[in-house]
Amino acid sequence: MAAAKELEVQKKRPVQSSEESTAPVNIFLPTTDIFETEDALSVLVEMPGVEKGNVDISVKDRILTIDGRIDFQKYAGMAPVYTEYNIGNFHRRFSLSNKVDASKIRAEMRDGLLTLTIPKSEEAKAQRIEIS
């Protein structure tokens, strides 16, 4: 069983993009799983510390953009003494195939995990062909 494995730390990856933000803050690529079922595409995005209200999801020209902002004001009055990771906002983009219907995207946020469900368009659903 996979669950018996020891978990390892995954180092956060900074976003590498052609355009940069004006301030040199760290923006991280959230760890993501994408899988496809018979009727939908699921995108699971890990964004620890991001509240439901601080997630932006948009689709434009078939590019899915996910933004998550952390509320670092929660750290007000706290002085770091020992750290193993840095914090920052999250940003990631994926291009979607025309097999999915981006207008019917569903989103759910739980325990820092964003789950997007993008239904497949009717034409793209696998058709079972009966042999006559």
Partner: protein, 141 residues
Amino acid sequence: MVMRFSDPFEALLNFQKQLDARLASDWLGNSTANMGGYPPINIFQQQDDFVAIVELPGVSKTDLTIEAKEGTLRISGKKTLDYQENASIHRRERLAGRFDRTITLPIRIDPDRIKAEYRDGILALFIPRAETDKPRAIEIE
């Protein structure tokens, strides 16, 4: 103390620099048993007390166990991935498995008064310093 952020980007950048400056600092002592391992931990001082912030995205509260004994904290549990059957994988980056991590703090703590909060994939442990460990002002007679 209330911090005011006139420019949130600059404030975040400054905070990120502060975090980098304390990266794997020797505060926990040089014992290798303390350092590294899953889950990653940041420790902050808040007035006299300490706060440990642990990132555990996608771990449900019921799969998480926290134990405290004298100066030692133990965080253990499991992370599972929920896949529907017959799903075809396009991209798999998330990891599942068990974790069990113990850290020994270089301060005397009050284990009965530790508070734990888990929200948005972040575990916050509020660790009060033992009264005997707090600095005391000495009056001159």
